[in-house]
């Protein structure tokens, strides 16, 4: 069998808007992600990053605008039958009643993709790539935060997705584990042909591995650039987000009138 028979897909977000009740969470956001690209969507917490990501896997429906994956509407279930898309949830969303191995094997088993020995090989290969071979028999509750994240990524990789989405893959991790996860995401291209979109407020992740970065604030996309451009930006909002200075002589919370 070929290593990966998948081809990465492009994503177009077109004038996407979404509100929950009175609260406008996403306001007229548009951007493209090219096939095979690593795109990082940054923004402070509460900016609407997770909500935007959920639109890509049809867990939320847009109020206006649309999301196209490989030219097909993401709000149509048929799109996701035709294109394999995986989402790594922020908290992992591992199946708590199943061992790590069964978590990874869940998707191929449900869809009867491989026979038993191929399945075992595929799962073991992914476990090895992420250096979590030892966890195969454990339950999610027995894992540390960093391991849960890696298991969640592993479960997505076993699906051999064409589009891989990460929600805050490095949040709540120590700096070294976070760097490790960033490297994993950044080097997956070598093993799997996949388009990656990560949502994060981790500057190191964005500047380290992204091909392009979008900056979402209060539901609006205020910047769309390469990491270098973003780091050098003189826009006060962007500069403030990219390198906030901690100033205890003149703290921010006292400026709010």
């Amino acid at each position: 069998m070929a290593e990966t028979s998948t081809t990465p897909v492009g994503v177009e977000v077109k004038n996407l808007s979404k509100s929950f009740g009175q609260q406008v969470v996403i306001e007229d956001v548009s951007f493209d992600v090219k096939p095979g690209e690593i795109f990082v969507l940054m923004g402070p917490s509460g900016a609407g990053k997770s909500v935007l990501l959920r639109h890509l896997v049809n867990l939320e429906k847009p109020d206006a605008g649309q999301v196209l994956i490989d030219g097909k509407d993401a709000a149509d279930p048929a799109t996701h039958k035709a294109i394999r898309t995986a989402l790594v949830f922020q908290a992992g969303a591992l199946f708590n009643s199943m061992s790590v191995f069964d978590n990874l094997a869940f998707y191929p088993r449900e869809h009867r993709l491989y026979n038993k020995s191929t399945l075992r090989d595929k799962v073991e290969r992914v476990l090895k790539i992420l250096h979590i071979e030892d966890t195969a028999k454990k339950l999610p509750a027995e894992l540390s935060g960093g391991m849960r994240k890696r298991v969640a990524i592993a479960r997505a990789l076993v699906m051999e997705p064409q589009l891989l989405l990460y929600d805050e893959p490095t949040s709540e991790l120590d700096p070294v584990t976070a760097a490790n996860i960033s490297e994993i995401i950044g080097t997956l291209k070598e093993e799997f042909s996949v388009t990656s979109i990560a949502v994060s407020h981790d500057r190191d992740l964005a500047l380290g591995i992204a091909d392009r970065v979008g900056l979402l604030m209060n539901g609006k996309l205020i910047a769309l650039a390469t990491p270098e451009e973003l780091a050098a930006s003189t826009d006060p909002q962007v500069a403030e987000f990219m390198s906030p200075k901690i100033d205890i002589q003149d703290p921010r919370f006292r400026k709010i009138s």
Binding site: L59, N96, E110
Partner: protein, 250 residues
Amino acid sequence: MNTARNILEAIGSSLVLLLRSIGYLPSLPRQLGRVFDYAFHIGYLTFPIVAILSFFLGAVLALQTGYSMNFAGGQELIGRIVGLAVARELAPLITAFLLAGRVGSSITAEIASMTVYQEVDALRTMQTPPERILVMPRLIAILFMMPVLTIVAVLLGWFGGGVVAQHVEFIGLDPNVYWANLKSVTEFKDVMNGLIKAEVFGFFVVLIACNQGLITRGGPREIGFSVTRSVVTGMFLVLLLDYVLTRILM
């Protein structure tokens, strides 16, 4: 006002869930493993308690009847009363109530926790809708298990009545008389009548429980609320359906 809206919403979403689950019936052959697991789980949780409680229910019924009849004469009527009441009413009702309490609560707790911790979202993104693997197989499982459980409840209820009728000193009925009397009025159609009711009760208890789990939003506190609501709604609906079905099947 709020409660009324909640109830209406729960009914609406349950019906939508029912239709969606029916839509996944064609995948039943692939889900037989799960049907079997869930059926086993249902049996494991309810069998002992259904057996014990229906025995005592039959016993108490015989005792009360014997006590009333003591003044009127005609102890042999105990067999008739226990026979009909247990088969037509008490066995289905006690089985459905115990199901709501033990199985309904455990289904809601499990699915609500999966919903709150985004496991259900994960299932959706993996193209395995919860309706297909969590709900539909449970509905099929309860359709298999409910008649079995109810028959056990009927037989043990009758048996409990017989034991009391024989051994309580102020009744002291010959077991042969008890069973002969029971058989003289209780027909197969009475037992069937009870089984049909039980089947409907069980189906709705499980449907409500699954739905309540899936519509849970929030955190651990809300999981607890959902479990309570599932059990209360389940029992309430069972009594409502009981009246309607009893009228229809009369």
